[in-house]
């Protein structure tokens, strides 16, 4: 038997038809596309320490620079309110409350939060939202206001806003 004829008659044993090869190509392409997408979300969502753009030095700077004083105070008061609410819900003691206020204040450029009237309004709002018993509200008020009538009034103002 002529081997050449035999080889022409012999079909491939792998079973690869053009249709199967094109399906495999499609599958690999789709997988590659998906992998890139997945890798992207994985590699990314990352804080841009790797980014060396000159603008990253000043990214988001001008927005904070051009926000008005009222906007900043409102945002600060909101964060104090949120902090007060989650802190009081945690059941931690009143004495430890002041520690967290320092971190909140620093985000808004306030190191001496005791001197900022807005702090106490935010505390009052947070106490109201937390819905804690009145005796606990009184304990916070006594500890934080230290008898200062202006601070007491500010906390009560905050309480009144959200009750």
């Amino acid at each position: 038997m002529d081997m050449k004829s035999d080889s022409r008659r012999i079909k491939p044993t792998t079973g690869d038809t053009p249709l199967i090869r094109s399906r495999r190509t499609l599958y690999l392409t789709g997988s590659a596309m998906l992998m890139f997408s997945l890798l992207g979300c994985a590699a990314g969502s990352s804080i841009s320490e790797s980014s060396n753009s000159i603008s990253t030095s000043f990214e988001s700077s001008s927005k904070s620079s051009t926000s008005s004083s009222e906007e900043r105070k409102e945002a600060y008061r909101g964060d104090v309110r949120h902090y007060t609410e989650v802190y009081t819900r945690s059941g931690s003691d009143v004495a430890g409350f002041a520690r967290g206020l320092s971190s909140i204040g620093e985000k808004y450029g306030t190191t001496n939060w005791e001197a900022d009237h807005t702090t106490y309004i935010g505390i009052g709002e947070g106490l109201a939202k937390a819905g804690i018993p009145q005796n606990q509200v009184d304990a916070y008020m006594t500890h934080l206001a230290q008898g200062d009538p202006l601070k007491i009034a500010a906390i009560q103002e905050g309480l009144g806003r959200l009750r």
Binding site: G44, S65, G109
Partner: protein
């Protein structure tokens, strides 16, 4: 029961139909009014660099929350001004943002916005707790080294303390000549609390340091959850640092030194000049600051020392402003940020624009500060911050170096190393025991944080965390509502129009999640925030021939829009705005990547692997283009912010 006779008449039928239509419209109007608030779900398109496969965020008006993968392998929530988010991703990142507006009631809007805001606070506190535990380990290592060195008569390295850098040099050298403003403050304190007040408080603080009973903290790591503020007593390092800073605050008040040279800005430019009216405003603020410090020195806050030191430094800067007739601002850049890196030519071309933009922001801030009325510390901090940025840009322009990056919280916390610190009387055996306990506590807490926040491609990424936060909030609401068998799914269906579970299927992929949100929630509108390049192309095509714009702007060589950021891989053609030509352009881009890689290989002995890495990245991002998939869009070194 049969219908009344009048309803069977033609008029009756007409009235009934009108009534039905009116009721339907009223119902819809009522529902529309009830769901009058819009929450934005944002899908950010892919691009090389950060979040290269896409990103997701959730927007509540001016506040946007998103999750980022930090350098420690954790997924962190961030709150950012919405305009700043757009500037970062759409303009600098050159990625189109697709926003789906979900109609909700005001109550649901506030509920979810509060939930995300509270999560920011809770997670930050948990990470700060871990940082505190890490500092505990450092402290006990330092104290142990001190104890061992005492026995061998050699000195251990000191500690860096915040705020002291404005008055004290590193080491143990004496402070420079006195400041009139601080002398006046000292006199006021003595007048208010007694002549011996400062000396007695210094002695008390030294005694407190010697007798301090430092113990390693053991925070309840097992109790850490995503929705509970961490319960944690003050750590050893916090106690010790607060006591040290209180002592130094009093000693600085006692010595009243002037600001050290090199710790403040006194630019000569006109933007920093102040007129007579502004000097009066500044003098009033200085008086207010003085009175605040007078109260702060007797505060019951355990951490009063640092704000007091920062306040004194600012008082000295205000004194210098009033005497010189121009704004003198404390330098809030950290010591470690040395301005010695030379800026590439391409980047230096943007510095004048950046400086002009920052100058406008500074002038805005000046006007806001000096307009009169109640001024508080945060107002001065805002002026100080943007003043630092402007002064730094002026310096970078003059020197041709890269501008330094301000820390995330730019407050006047310049550090100084202090040697020969007062240390508690603890023996080596006790310190070794405490060090071991501190290390164990830090390790336990780190493990707990990893269990909560470790990044996972499929289960814990920028998409899944958004829906985890939403669903867990609704779950708490459902379980606390008093109705049996009510679940997060029920709440979500009622409030958002559907329920999203990002752990199923491919919903964790950003673009898939966006489509799912559109299909699932009550999305009433979709909006596109075009990328910087897309917006510019649209503008150009209104003025010029679209064909000419395409020919000019399709490639990186002749494009007038593209300002390549340093991390961009090399490529020749933009493929995001063309589909038919994408494989052809992709092929050329692939060649560019290959060429860069070969150059990178050749330059490796001299320049390291940076060029090679860029070349390989160029190849990788070109491959999808060959099969009609676009990821890369190029990012921008600089784009002015929208005013």
């Amino acid at each position: 029961m049969t219908a009344p006779a009048w309803l069977k008449t033609k008029a009756g039928i007409r009235i009934a139909c009108c009534l039905t239509v009116w009721l339907i419209c009223w119902g819809n109007a009522g529902q529309a009014l009830a769901n009058s608030h819009l929450i934005g779900y944002l899908y950010v398109e892919a691009n090389e660099g950060d979040s290269s496969g896409g990103h997701a965020a959730i927007r509540f008006g001016k506040q946007t929350f998103h999750f980022q993968h930090d350098n420690y392998g954790k997924i962190r929530i961030r709150s950012i001004d919405s305009a700043a988010f757009e500037h970062s991703y759409a303009l600098l990142g050159n990625r189109t943002i697709h926003e789906s507006s979900i109609a909700v009631s005001e109550e649901t809007y506030r509920l979810l916005q509060d939930a995300f805001s509270q999560f920011v606070i809770i997670q930050e506190a948990q990470l700060e707790t871990h940082e505190t535990l890490r500092r505990d380990v450092e402290l006990f290592e330092y104290l142990l080294a001190q104890a061992r060195n005492r026995s061998s008569d050699t000195a251990a390295a000191g500690l860096n303390l915040k705020g002291l850098g404005y008055f004290l040099p590193d080491g143990s050298a004496s402070p420079p000549s006195p400041s009139p403003a601080l002398i006046q403050l000292r006199q006021q304190v003595s007048a208010a609390y007694g002549e011996n007040f400062i000396a007695e408080r210094i002695e008390q603080s030294r005694a407190a340091l010697r007798e301090m009973n430092l113990r390693a903290s053991e925070p309840p790591a097992a109790e850490i959850t995503r929705d509970a503020y961490p319960r944690f007593a003050a750590s050893a390092s916090t106690h010790y640092e607060n006591a040290l800073l209180a002592r130094y605050a009093l000693e600085i008040l006692h010595n009243a030194p002037a600001l050290r040279p090199g710790t403040f800005w006194a630019p000569e430019s006109d933007s920093f000049r102040i007129d007579a009216r502004e000097q009066l405003v500044l003098a009033d603020f200085a008086l207010q600051l003085q009175n605040d410090l007078l109260r702060l020195v007797r505060s019951s806050r355990s951490d009063w020392g640092l704000p007091f030191i920062a306040g004194m430094a600012r008082l000295a800067a205000l004194e210098a402003s009033l005497s010189s007739g121009r704004l003198v601002l404390l330098d809030t850049f950290p010591d470690s940020a040395q301005p010695d890196e030379h800026l590439a030519v391409a980047g230096s071309g943007y510095l004048p624009d950046m400086k002009n933009e920052t100058e406008q922001a500074f002038l805005f801030r000046r006007d806001d500060f000096f307009k009169g009325g109640q001024i508080d510390e945060s107002d001065y901090s805002a002026l100080e911050r943007v003043g630092n940025q402007l002064a730094e840009l002026e310096r970078a322009l003059t020197s041709g170096s890269r501008p330094r990056r301000l820390p995330e919280i730019p407050l006047p916390y310049r550090t100084a190393r202090r040697d020969y610190l007062s240390v508690p009387n603890l023996n080596e055996a006790d310190l070794e025991k405490e060090l071991a306990a501190a290390r164990a506590a830090e390790k336990d807490y780190a493990g707990a944080l990893s269990r909560l926040y470790s990044y996972d491609l499929f289960r814990r990424n920028c998409v899944t965390e958004i829906f985890t936060c939403i669903n867990s909030t609704l779950e708490r609401l459902a379980s606390g509502g008093g109705k049996r068998d009510r679940t997060a799914r029920d709440e979500s269906l009622q409030r958002l129009g559907g329920y999203m579970d990002a752990s199923r299927g491919f919903t964790f992929v950003p673009f898939v999640s966006a489509a799912a949100v559109d299909a699932c929630y009550s999305v009433t509108a979709r909006q596109e925030h075009p990328s910087h390049r897309a917006a510019k192309l649209a503008e150009m095509k209104k003025r010029e021939s679209p064909l000419w714009v395409f020919l000019r702007e399709s490639n990186t060589i002749t494009s007038t829009i593209y300002r390549p950021a340093p991390g961009d891989s090399p490529f020749l053609f933009f493929t995001d705005d063309t589909i038919l030509l994408r494989p052809l352009f992709g092929a050329f881009n692939l060649l560019a990547g290959v060429g860069k890689s070969l150059l990178g290989l050749a330059a490796m002995p001299l320049e390291g692997t940076k060029q090679l890495q860029l070349g390989v990245k160029g190849i990788l991002f070109s491959l999808p283009e060959l099969v009609f998939v676009n990821l890369r869009k190029g990012s921008m070194e600089y784009v002015a912010e929208k005013q």
